[in-house]
């Protein structure tokens, strides 16, 4: 995560502002904002679930908030924590959020839990690192938070002691975060916007509070706070590019149809647009695929209306190359590798006959001259499990050299994205 860089800056800011803001920050750290705000329109679960009991609602909300992504190790016990977040200056581990009293949050009161979500402070009053997206969760309604808690507390408890974070000084000084919070954390609950439709407001709540899309998709400033004016205009993190998902036609998703957007969110794939991989694949797998059609369409409504931002690489505008190897010419290294190891699934023409998810032609990942996500997928593979249908691509990082992967990426970008690939072996080495 970029938190690494951010925390570095955080510390810088600390030095400057400690004296001025220190006392104030320290005193307000545990404040959660106005807790009397009523459950407003747009919050809660969709109408079809509203009648259900609290556990069912809690489960839905926990999914929409994608708790599992950070608190469940693949193959491990649900919500037992231990997911590692590798940062340049150490590693953070997510905590156990099952109701185990000794190692989980079993003895947290409702207030404790609400405070964690709204203010980023744990039961003991320790400040939590913003890898935990409390800057978004702070907008959640109290009822929703308590429904999530009820759900978590209904699950089997797991004994799993928190792994100590492994951060070097001064990044292990949590108190410094209070200053950052003062500056960048707005402890405000979600308020529906008047004049916008019900669907829009619901979508806004899903996107900004529960789904915390901005945490990945909104560019960050020097202090690692989201740039307000550039919401959802795209950012890079953990080596992956979270694309511009504003309504800009060239740089964002303005050119996608409603159906395409809905398909992408709920199935993780749209022909000619892209397949969710990496962190986005996880979001689809753990969270989005479980949203009701009404919520998906609310999200679409909201995303349609996000202010266009002409930022980042344009979505495929080039002409995909001649995909049939020219006879008689000598093939380049990238093509050789593609036909050997890739074409079986993706087909020479990039149509991906074997599974729809393998279609490459024109997708965003192959239209990026920097091939950021493409290289990640080649290096590390990709898994997606939607509707209990696993699709996966194996990793090729171990068996192929940097030069080979660079040539392969460039070939793919050229042939299926119509862009001039610009990768060198050194670029690939840096992304390993």
């Amino acid at each position: 995560m970029k938190i690494g860089r951010a925390l570095g800056r955080v510390v810088g800011i600390v030095v400057l502002a400690a004296i001025i803001f220190g006392g104030y920050a320290f005193m307000t750290a545990s404040h959660t904002g106005d807790e009397r705000t009523a459950q407003t329109q747009g919050t809660g679960t969709p109408p079809d679930l509203a009648v259900k009991e609290v556990l069912a609602r809690g489960e839905y909300l926990a999914r929409a908030a994608d708790c599992a992504a950070c608190h469940t190790v693949p193959g491990g016990a649900d919500f037992a924590g231990g997911v590692a977040f590798k940062l340049p200056f150490g590693t953070l581990y997510s905590p156990n959020i099952t109701a185990d009293k000794a190692t989980g949050i079993g003895d947290w009161s409702d207030e404790d839990f609400v405070r964690a979500m709204h203010a980023g402070v744990d039961k003991e009053g320790h400040l939590l690192y913003p890898a935990f997206p409390y800057t978004s969760y702070t907008a959640l309604s109290r009822d929703d938070i308590l429904a999530i808690k009820a759900y978590l507390f209904s699950l089997p408890v797991v004994q799993s002691p928190a792994r100590a974070n492994d951060l070097s000084f001064p990044y292990n000084q949590r108190w410094a975060l209070s200053l950052w919070n003062v500056m960048f954390l707005k402890k405000e609950r979600f308020q529906p916007e008047h004049g916008k439709s019900e669907a829009w407001n619901r979508g806004a709540y899903l996107a900004t509070a529960l789904g915390h899309c901005s945490e990945c998709h909104t560019p960050r400033n020097a202090a690692f706070a989201m740039k307000d004016g550039e919401a959802l205009a795209g950012e890079e993190l953990q080596g992956w590019r979270a694309y511009n998902i504003t309504s800009d036609k060239t740089h964002g998703i303005g050119g996608w149809s409603d159906q395409e957007l809905a398909d992408y969110l709920s199935k993780g794939h749209v022909a000619g647009r892209g397949t969710a991989s990496g962190p986005m694949g996880e979001v689809v797998e753990h969270s989005l695929q479980y949203l009701t059609p009404s919520d998906i369409s609310a999200l679409v409504t909201y995303l349609r209306d996000v202010k266009p931002q002409p930022i980042g690489a344009p979505v495929s505008s080039g002409q995909p190359g001649n995909t049939v190897a020219a006879s008689g010419t000598e093939a380049g290294l990238g093509e050789e590798l593609f036909v050997g190891a890739c074409a079986s699934c993706h087909l020479d023409n990039g149509q991906g006959r074997q599974t729809d998810y393998a279609a490459l032609m024109g997708t965003r990942a192959v239209s990026d001259p920097h091939a950021t996500n493409l290289t990640q997928i080649i290096l590390h593979g990709s898994q997606l499990n939607v509707g209990h249908q696993p699709v996966s691509m194996p990793s090729f990082g171990q068996a192929y050299s940097d030069a080979e992967i660079a040539a392969l990426s460039n070939y793919i970008v050229k042939h299926f994205g119509g862009q001039q690939g610009a990768l060198s072996a050194a670029d690939v080495a840096a992304r390993r």
Binding site: G332, V339, G381, P394, S395, A399, S401, A403, A407, S424
Partner: protein, 757 residues
Amino acid sequence: MTSFVRPAHDDADLPNPSRRELLKRGGLVVAFMWLGGATRVLGLDNSTRIGENHPLFAPNAFVRVGNDGSVQLVMPNVEMGQGVYTAQAMLLAEELDVGLDQITVEHAPPNRKLYLNPLLGDQATGGSTTVRYCWTALRDAGAAARYMLVNAAAQRWKVDPSQCTVARGVVTHAPTGRTLPYGELADAAAKVTPPEKAPLKDPKDFQLIGKPMRRVDSSGKVDGSLIFGLDVRVPGMKIATVRACPTFGGRLASVDDSHARSIPGVLRVLKIDNAVAVVGEHYWAAKQGLDALVIQWDRGANAHLSTEQFFADMAHASEHGKPIVAKEVGHPDGAKGKTISSTYELPLLAHATMEPINALVHVRPDACDVWVGSQVVARCADIAAKVTGLPPESITIHNQYLGGGFGRRLFEESVGQAVAFGKQVDYPIKVVWTREEDIAQDCYRPAYYDRISATLDDNGKPVAWTHRTTGASVLASFAPPAMGKNGLDPDLVECAADLPYAIPNLRSEWVRHDFPEGMRVGWWRGVGPTHNVMVVESFVDELAHAAGKDPVAYRREILGEDPRVRGVLDLATEKAGWGKETLPPRHGRGIALAAPFGSYLCVIVDVEVSPQGVVSLKRAVAAVDCGIVVNPNTVEAQIQGGLVFGWSAALYSGITLKQGAVEQRNFNDYRVMRLNETPPIEVHIVPSKEKPGGIGEPGTVMAMAALTNAIFAATGVRLRKLPIDTSLLVKDKGALNEVLSATAPVDGAPANARNLS
């Protein structure tokens, strides 16, 4: 009964195998001879007449002639691509005087009495031994059958058998022109007294041997009709797939199979000590069931094993362990001159046969049937008996064609596993390993750590040479009694103790360093020679470089006496045009020369290395002297295939361990060579009248050193560790920053993309 295998006591009292014997037979073969007793090919005792009441004429364990004229040859060795069915059939058919197109072949059942391979001391196929042991024996068997058939005809015509000739299974009485086909003689021939020893043909009269014959097993392999082990289907059969504990020696702790059981088509979840299997109506159900299991492993003692630790341990053992001396001549220590020393590291290797491991088993209370393609059918029967507790006679092994062996199917542990699962159900189950399981649960070619050093005189010639190998022994677990008296594994030092070069002071030794408990070592297309030739021939190249001499000229200077070594060196260098032209920059030509498995080979490889370090092979030339050639077509195919197998390993393959488990999973990360990466390969055969040498493994033996020597010639980088780390071959930092073109390189453009050959 003559055989070139001499009685055991000839060698048993020698402290070390003599150089000549080693060169002639290969260490593995010598090792098995030390077992003693294995001096006859038992099935070739012509008095062993099976099926006395059989409608067929069955004069010995190998030949069957039916009343309808059909000729069936029973193959003592298994076919796994190496062409032994054809070679063995040729030996039999040659003396029997039938055409290869007139015969059918079938696998021998497990029967050590009849089908023992004396060079391996078991009913086994491996070690490039088949033609070497069958050369006389199978011809004897064919000749004996012919003798009886001809005598039957002579008796019927009341003529002297010496007046009869045979061609294509028809006996002709030359003076009268009368003819009788074998089919009509089958019954009568069965009554003829078998000969003590039937005369063999003069080699100049050979009709088949030495001719490039077509394989007998091809047609079923081009139309999909041939049945491999994985293809066998029996009524009522279900399919199972397995996951064993990923850490070696670990155990199954618990399985939650609730999800798996709800998958349509999943029938049962079976457990054994260290593995779990899901049985389904078809593989897909079983595989989905397997993926849905939540398994807890007790990861055992190797839970923290890593490749780094593995090599660190070997390096330590190399320094501090107690070496077993395989050979010492003169005074290798303290010689005067310039000393060159190097360390080589070779990785664990998996086999990755194209056909994943499988076995179909049907266990009943009183009997057990196993359908499997195995290199060791008799051992499969043993393990089935052991696991079921049934007497050996209740076990039936139906051996099948092998979709690749390479030594993997010299191990029968997977058959034991399948039987252990099969015991738990009352229907036949076909246990099919996933490719991932096949790679993660292999019997690996051991990793090796070698320290080698030489002292050069003023002319650059080596006056002293010491070579210490450290690593595990395959033989020690495969056939413990075959280990030398001093604990030496003779296979491990083949091509290291006896070099084709004359070096006055030499010591070759081995520090035994076993795999951790629970990990299985395996044969792998030439274990000792493949490893040793890589080290020795790379090091000879290093010496040539240190002496400032051309690698071929240098080898000529230090060559020993054996003319066959010089023969292959001359032929290969001439065909490759060694020294005839200057190669373009970053192109290089490399050589390897050795005498593995009783054959002599010289291989020359041309490569190009891109500025970013990508290696492409341009051309390869091999010269082979494998004694009398039974089928040159097979020799060429085996050398070509063997080279590709060896290059694959050198370029890409290597098993690494992390947290006690194998990291590689499938062909995406256990990469092997593809067609577009394969150069043209010329194979030139030296005509010879010597006894046949092996050809299944030698290609692989030669591949690695020839390649890395060529890379040295192209880049100046000496690779002492496999698989090749291409980052070492990068021209300069700038090359890495060059954008790798997405399109075909145009003429004159920098070679930043690899050209195809």
